[in-house]
């Protein structure tokens, strides 16, 4: 069986690429870094990969708005290729700052109607919380669906999902685009502090209508081993991050989905 090739997109200021690289590798994938300048120079092509991940960080210093410069740079060098990549059904995942990037690119929804904005607390929230799967997404359903809450670290200042109108939220649910919600340790969707940013309906993760463009604020790659977890989760056999990346690689390998 071919080992799935996962491209990790970079620009100045991304800083979570190493954790993503080793998570992909330890789950059996073949990770590769892909700087925007590698794409613009023609050294690397997005179409050569089975999945793409935009990791967390502070791309271009997060000046203006988080992710907006990275989104403009990616659109400029590979807008059409990324469009084709997404249309082909391959997974395109944005984590934290990467989620902000794919939202700015409008790959999940029209950016006039959904945004990621400043945390309600007015603070950079850097700690753990829990997330519970709420969709039927084929990549993650075997590992997460109906399995309760999963501990995850968060670290962001602009992670609050806001919608222009409640009708947008209704459509997200109708299309099964709400992948994970924040919850308390008992799996009950709850307010702050479990919902760390004040996201509407405690939403932690969204997908596009087809389920292959995925954005999430929590960092699964920072909790790959149980010893990286807190409290009861540190005694689990498998930590959230391993389940997340194992699911992705297993899906890409055709084992499930």
């Amino acid at each position: 069986m071919n080992i799935p090739k996962v491209g990790i997109l970079l620009m100045e200021g991304t800083n979570n690429e190493t954790e993503v690289y080793f998570s992909v590798k330890r789950s059996g994938g073949h990770p590769d870094y892909l700087h925007v300048s590698d794409i613009s120079s023609g050294r690397k092509n997005v179409s050569d990969y089975d999945a793409l991940i935009v990791p967390g960080g502070f791309s271009a210093g997060d000046y203006i708005r988080a992710g907006v410069i990275f989104a403009a740079r990616l659109s400029a060098v590979a807008g059409r290729e990324i469009g084709d990549f997404v249309d082909s059904g391959k997974p395109f995942i944005g984590i934290c700052n990467g989620f902000q990037v794919i939202m700015e690119m409008g790959l999940i929804w029209n950016r006039e109607e959904i945004t990621l904005t400043n945390n309600e607390s007015g603070r950079f929230e850097c700690r753990y919380t829990y997330m519970t799967m709420t969709s039927n997404n084929p990549i993650f359903r075997d590992a997460f669906r109906d399995k309760g809450p999963f501990q995850v670290p968060v670290a962001h200042a602009e992670g609050r999902i806001a919608v222009s109108d409640r009708s947008v939220l209704k459509k997200l649910y109708e299309n099964d685009q709400v992948l994970f919600k924040y919850s308390d340790p008992n799996g009950i969707t709850d307010d702050y502090p479990w919902n760390p940013n004040g996201s509407v309906d405690s939403i932690a993760s969204l997908t596009n209508e087809y389920g292959n463009v995925i954005g999430l604020m929590p960092h699964p790659e920072r909790i790959y081993y149980p010893y990286q977890a807190m409290y009861d989760d540190s005694r689990k056999d498998q930590a959230t991050g391993k389940l997340f990346y194992d699911s992705l690689i297993s899906y890409l390998s055709g084992v499930h989905g």
């Binding site: 271009a60 210093g61 000046y63 203006i64 410069i69 403009a72 740079r73 400029a76």
Partner: protein
């Protein structure tokens, strides 16, 4: 009274935010843009202009690297 306090870097002090933004505008092909500078504006409602001067000088601005202007503005202009 409403005051408009604008704080910016002194000439010759690097403005890292502006440098990053300008560099990326260039990469994106906006070649006619030659310079970017940032400044921060506060609107403060106060009865005593002296208080505004003091907080600006002591707290809002870093006098080593920044300069500021304070002006009285129309209260509706927010």
């Amino acid at each position: 009274m409403r005051f408009r306090v604008e704080i910016k870097y002194k000439d010759g002090v690097e403005d890292p935010e502006a440098v990053t933004i300008l560099k990326n505008f260039g990469i994106l092909g906006y070649r006619s843009i030659k310079n970017v500078r940032t400044s921060k504006v506060y609107y403060i409602d106060a009865d005593d202009e002296e208080d505004v001067k003091q907080v600006t000088n002591k707290i809002l601005a870093n006098p080593v690297i920044q300069t500021y202007t304070i002006e009285k503005v129309d209260g509706s202009n927010f």
